[in-house]
């Protein structure tokens, strides 16, 4: 098993006709993922074609679900329309919505989170690289790739990766793969201050997943999500966890690229997060080059 998505997960892409959505739908198809539908309002009835694959496009998410049995959505629509797109998937009872879009106003996400209370859908993101469950083929082909991560850097295996940052996730995954160690699932939860799924949510899933034997958790300055995950791991963690926190050198009060990466009022510092990790028995990588090695030492 893996968490959240499996190679046979049926995925629809909201915003499949935009250049960003189209490019990554193509890459997911090339990776062997089951992209079964596209949704672009006003373009229902058309087809998205790539390398001999024909993906039907629908005007609405419920229609796409009815016709194709999709259970999961990747949202690539531009920021002003993203909250609407996410809630369309939520109200159609999708199991999972993965919002890739960067730049959604915080107020929109506050409303989305409130509207999602009591619904069955899990949201990953926004402003995230998405999810990859590597497949058994060459360069992990045949897995489920939702989002914008490079598929080929992965390898099927037993380490779970969760991170707020895209490129740092790739860095960790590549370090593992280069050492011959594969991944169960890699989850980018996104760099925004309001997101659907937290470090802790993903850690709980990895903790219960029999296939996951070790976890890499990558955090960054801002908020207290890493501390909350660490506290839970201290009480309930069954598996070795290695971590890294980015932003020790970031000046306070400045947003470091990600909307959520900011130390404000002395809160959300790297030092506090690293201390929480150590307190919880999480192996802290001294540099981002040693994320995989730190975990592998613990798993030995």
């Amino acid at each position: 098993m893996s968490i959240l998505v499996q190679p046979d997960t049926r995925v629809l892409v909201q915003g499949i006709t935009g250049s960003f959505g189209a490019r990554h739908a193509q890459l997911s198809i090339d990776y062997g993922s089951r992209i079964v539908a596209g949704v672009t309002p006003g373009k229902g009835g058309q087809w998205f074609e790539h390398n001999g694959n024909k993906v039907p496009i629908f005007d609405t998410v419920p229609e796409a679900i009815r016709q194709t049995g999709a259970t999961t959505s990747a949202v690539f629509v531009p920021p002003p329309f993203a909250a609407d797109a996410i809630l369309e998937g939520v109200n159609a009872d999708l199991e999972l919505v993965v919002a890739i879009t960067e730049g959604i106003p915080v107020r929109d996400m506050i409303q989305v989170k409130r509207a999602m209370e009591g619904k069955k859908t899990r949201l990953i993101g926004p402003n995230c690289p998405g999810i990859v469950t590597p497949g058994p083929g060459k360069d992990s082909f045949g897995g489920c790739r939702i989002g914008i991560a490079p598929g080929y850097i992965h390898k099927k295996g037993n380490v779970g990766v969760v991170s707020r940052s895209g490129t740092l996730t790739y860095e960790a995954v590549w370090q593992l793969t280069c050492r011959g160690v594969g991944q169960s699932t890699c989850v980018g939860i996104g760099g925004d201050p309001v997101n659907g799924t937290t470090h802790l949510d993903v850690i709980k899933l990895f903790n219960d997943d029999p296939e996951t034997q070790g976890i890499i958790m990558i955090g960054e300055i801002g908020g207290s999500a890493e501390e909350e995950a660490a506290e839970w791991i201290k009480q309930h963690g069954k598996k070795p966890v290695a971590g890294f926190i980015a932003g020790a050198t970031a000046p306070p009060g400045r947003r470091m690229g990600h909307a959520g990466a900011i130390v404000s009022g002395g809160k959300g510092t790297a030092a506090a997060k690293i201390a929480a990790f150590k307190e919880a028995g999480i192996g802290v990588a001294p540099t981002p080059s040693e994320m995989a090695d730190t975990l592998l030492r613990m798993m030995r």
Binding site: Q111, W174, G222
Partner: protein, 402 residues
């Protein structure tokens, strides 16, 4: 985005929040005209406030030696005299750094007698993704200090975004302030107005510190937002043309403005190793690893996921404008982007800028072999790094060796 105090008060006023009578000015003639109005209306004292995006103004010092970026004046002439000492001068406060900020605008306002000070703020509570209204009877103090010493003095109301802030929540704050009668009713109205400002302007933070009970010369008491600070959610600016117009480029570092024109995310720091990285997380981690090996990063620079040759060239030009830079560290994990495109961009940028500083490049990812070949065959002196750690050590050594 941050805005000035006078702009924050303009927004608050639109939502029914009472602020002291006053206006901004940029010239001495304007200062005199505003002062005439304030004293003419019977206010005995006016306050002259330097408008910069940094705190600690009152205790700041101008580079001319003039003390205080906020001054109380008892006559029109005194207002003009203070204004002439402040306008166009550089104010250094504990938040500006030693370089200080040039004061180009002043807020001249009525200074009423303050009977009591409170604290009021609206922000996002990231733990439960809800707006949080925070208040304290300890006005004028930093809220972090109050939270640490006397957490029981902080009143909190979490807002359900589906209904907005309800009046009963504002009443709890008014009651927590210990107010009665007309002042209680005024507090309820004011708190609701401050929340509405936060919500409707897409603010990330609205802070009124202090919120004051003031007494006018005729002995009448009322509430007033004596100081106010608002920062806005950059992602929502597209729906607020009026707030976009409040952006003051004088308050932003010139290189950061230049970088934003090329969709580059650049933040200047104090070190001497310039970084050029793709991805915000990796860019932060690159700064960290430089420091880990004893170096000091000169900047944060995220060129984004789909950097073009033009962007790489623009990025080089921007980091080279920082006179402190002694070496450059390029750290690219090209997952989807083609490493050879980046390598071609680096070679072009080095040639175009005539770069003489040590350049360490760590490339990884898609088409990396072709990228490395392009760098090698360019004939340029480019130091390759196998991993982030290897490259970081090489760049730190390159500076030590010079």
């Amino acid at each position: 985005m941050n805005i000035h105090e006078y702009q924050a008060k303009q927004l608050l006023k639109q939502y029914g929040v009472s602020v002291p009578a006053g206006e901004p000015c940029t010239t001495l003639d304007q200062a005199r005209a505003i002062a005439d109005k304030i004293f003419g209306a019977g206010h005995p004292v006016a306050v002259v406030k330097s408008q910069i995006h940094a705190g600690g103004r009152g205790k700041g010092t101008f580079k001319t030696g003039f003390q205080g970026g906020v001054k109380l004046a008892r006559s029109v002439d005194e207002v003009v005299s203070f204004a002439s000492s402040m306008l166009g001068q550089v104010l250094v406060t504990k938040q500006t750094g030693p370089e200080g900020r040039k004061v180009q605008t002043l807020l001249i306002a009525a200074a009423e007698t303050i009977k009591k000070e409170f604290y009021l703020a609206v922000l996002l509570d990231r733990v439960n993704s809800r707006p949080l209204v925070m208040a304290s009877t300890e006005g004028g103090m930093e809220i972090e200090e109050v939270a640490a010493k006397t957490p029981e003095k902080i009143l909190k109301q979490w807002i359900d975004p589906s209904v907005g802030m309800m009046p009963y929540q504002a009443r709890q704050i008014g009651s927590g302030f210990g107010l009665k009668g007309e002042l209680f009713n005024a507090a309820v109205k004011l708190v609701l107005g401050v929340y509405k400002t936060w919500w409707e302007c897409d603010a990330s933070m609205v802070e009124i510190n202090p919120l004051c009970i003031i007494e006018t010369p005729d002995g009448k008491q009322s509430l007033s937002a004596v100081d106010a600070k608002i920062s806005l959610d950059d992602n929502a600016l597209y729906r607020h043309a009026d707030i976009q117009a409040m952006r003051d480029l004088n308050e932003e570092a010139p290189l950061e403005i230049e970088a934003s024109k090329f969709n580059l995310n650049y933040i200047k720091l104090d070190g001497n190793i310039a970084c050029l990285v793709n991805g915000a997380g990796l860019a932060m981690a690159t700064m960290d690893i430089i420091q880990h090996f004893g170096g000091s990063p000169a900047n944060f620079l995220d060129v984004g996921g789909g950097a073009s040759k033009e962007q790489v060239t623009a990025a080089f030009k921007i980091i080279l404008q920082d006179p402190n830079v002694k070496a450059i560290f390029v750290n690219i994990f090209g997952g989807i982007m083609d490493c050879n495109v980046i390598a071609t961009g680096i070679v072009a940028a080095v040639k175009e800028t005539g770069l003489r500083l040590p350049l360490v490049v760590r490339l990884e990812g898609n088409n990396v072999q072709a990228g490395k070949k392009t760098l090698t065959e360019s004939g340029l002196t480019i130091i390759g790094g196998d991993s982030m750690a290897d490259a970081a050590q090489k760049v730190v050594q390159a500076i030590a060796a010079r």
